[in-house]
Amino acid sequence: MIQANGIYLHGCIRISKKGNALSVEKSKLKNSAGYVETKYIEIPNGIKLDCGETIAPLSIAYQTYGELNKDKTNAVLIVHALTGDAHAAGYNKKTGKAGWWDIMIGPGKGIDTNKYFVICSNVLGGCKGTTGPSSVNPETGKPYGLNFPPITIFDMVRVQKLLIEHLGIDCLLSVIGGSMGGMQALAWPVLYPGLVNSSAAIATTTRLSPQSIAFNEIGRLSILLDQNFNDGNYYGGQPPSKGLALARMIGHITYLSDESMQTKFGRNYKNDKPGEFLKPEFEVERYLHHQGDSFIKRFDANTYIYLTKAMDHFDLARNHKSLKHAFKDTFARYLIVAFTSDWLFPVYQSKEIVRSLQSNLCDVTYCEIESAYGHDAFLLEIEELTRMLENFLKNSFTKSKI
């Protein structure tokens, strides 16, 4: 069992230094998708968004693992959560960094790259290679910043569809995602019925609760109030790091649970004794500061604003009479997974999804995994999820309806 250490699973992967380049231990490399690199496609005509505006050109960053079979029936799309990227599995050759879901994706793993062709792309609006607010606006020659048009979860899915088409794939075997990725996994069959065989939505919802919107708002506000924010035009200067770090700290509180905080930190002092009055003294404080500090090195504040807004506005039943109606005739097999201590995407929301699917007599499997890890559980309950995804993919593949 992996210890709960937040989103940073790769923290536990040892990297040894050989010469100048970082190289990953051979055994780890062998059990993974190996060294991988991010590829890019350019779509000159771009994409028309829900808001009516068009982003062109559009760049999509993605990685693939495994081989596409002859009939092109084994393609699995992995959709990342709020702060993820296209590097889902294997190791980056330059940095030695493991993919964010390397523990799940690889040869012989839950999502077996010996069997499936696995694709993961950075979402629209992201800051890891796919066009987003930090990309250059061709009209001005400067980064978009807040001139980037508002995007939706559906827009993200449309961009993924462009990538799939580019890869020559008509139908996906499965779309798998957790949290914000789960929203996209659910939007896929609704937007493209018949083109996706199955959808696995983990620790997610079809619409955020007001509590989750509230947390997103104070996260955004902390960025907006940062003196360096400068209406989003901070590129080339000092970024609003303090605000972004605070947003991340708030986020991390919502990813844990009371119980997991008790277990992980208790009331322990970080140096075994009280420290300076206004400095972080407790373990839990140290953890949050650490999460904030490491986040600002890898993430763009404007992206944080745009993606959380996309989550807040997401409502799968939008343009439909009801959620039940939205799922009607989607022809997909569903796996819905919730974690008991997740209060950001609570169990009742998953149950709501299951009920809507059931009332359509959709093919749905639902599992409520007992876990103390809170929302983070979707990256930490490896054993349960491995078993579940392995069987789900096998069933989707052998009983393919498309």
């Binding site: 059931q358 009332s359 007599l361 639902y366 599992c367 078993r387 579940m388 069987n391 069933n395």
Partner: protein, 209 residues
């Protein structure tokens, strides 16, 4: 639900269910456990099967058999399903663990065209003699639990069930009495000799009383 179940191919109750169910029908199995019955129906009758199971392990094992199962508590209801959306709704050896039997059975009758209910019979002679002679709550092969850890919160006899069916304005269409999981009970009264009973029941909405 019970601990000591024989191999599935020896389960006479499953064989009977297999014979009752038509090819390609829609089945809902409430309390489907590891999915053995649904798997059998799937393979033999190519049914469209759905299951409800309370344990995570049951969901895992059902998935391993290629089944689609929803983790949940039957007592929370079947209100998501429309009227008569299944050909058969099955409550196999699960009646004794649910809190709201009446509600669940009425819902089964609403969402299913046919309903099967089976349960262990507490009127069985072994059960009676155990209680009479030993003075302790009986433990049997079918019900091997202690009073404090048994999931079987309801003890009922065949007579109790029939009273219930009558009082709640339902009707027994078919009845089967078992000596054990693999044999029918030859002797009567069934309430004394059968360790388990299985019924096909229907509502009597259309019968004026």
């Amino acid at each position: 639900m019970t601990a000591l179940l024989p191999e599935k191919d020896k389960r006479l109750d499953y064989k009977i269910i297999l014979n009752l169910v038509n090819e390609n029908s829609r089945i809902l199995d409430l309390g489907c456990g590891d999915g053995t019955l649904l798997d059998l129906l799937n393979k033999e009758k190519n049914v469209i099967g759905r299951g409800v199971e309370i344990s995570t392990e049951g969901v895992h094992l059902s998935m391993e058999k290629g089944l689609s199962v929803v983790q949940g508590n039957i007592d929370e209801g079947l209100s998501d399903y429309e009227d008569k959306s299944f050909d058969w709704v099955i409550l196999s050896q699960t009646l004794q663990v649910i809190r709201e039997p009446l509600l669940v059975i009425l819902e089964m009758l609403r969402v299913g065209k046919h309903v099967i209910v089976s349960f262990p019979n507490s009127g069985h002679w072994k059960f009676r003699f155990n209680l009479l002679l030993k003075g302790r709550m009986p433990k049997t092969k079918l019900l091997p639990f202690e009073w404090y850890n048994t999931p079987n919160i309801r003890s009922l006899t065949i007579k109790d069930f029939k009273d219930f069916i009558y009082l709640e304005k339902m009707r027994v269409v078919k009845e089967y009495y078992f000596k054990d999981y693999s044999k029918l009970s030859k002797f009567r009264p069934a309430n004394f000799f059968a360790s388990m009973a299985m019924y096909v029941i229907e509502g009597m909405d259309n019968f004026p009383l």
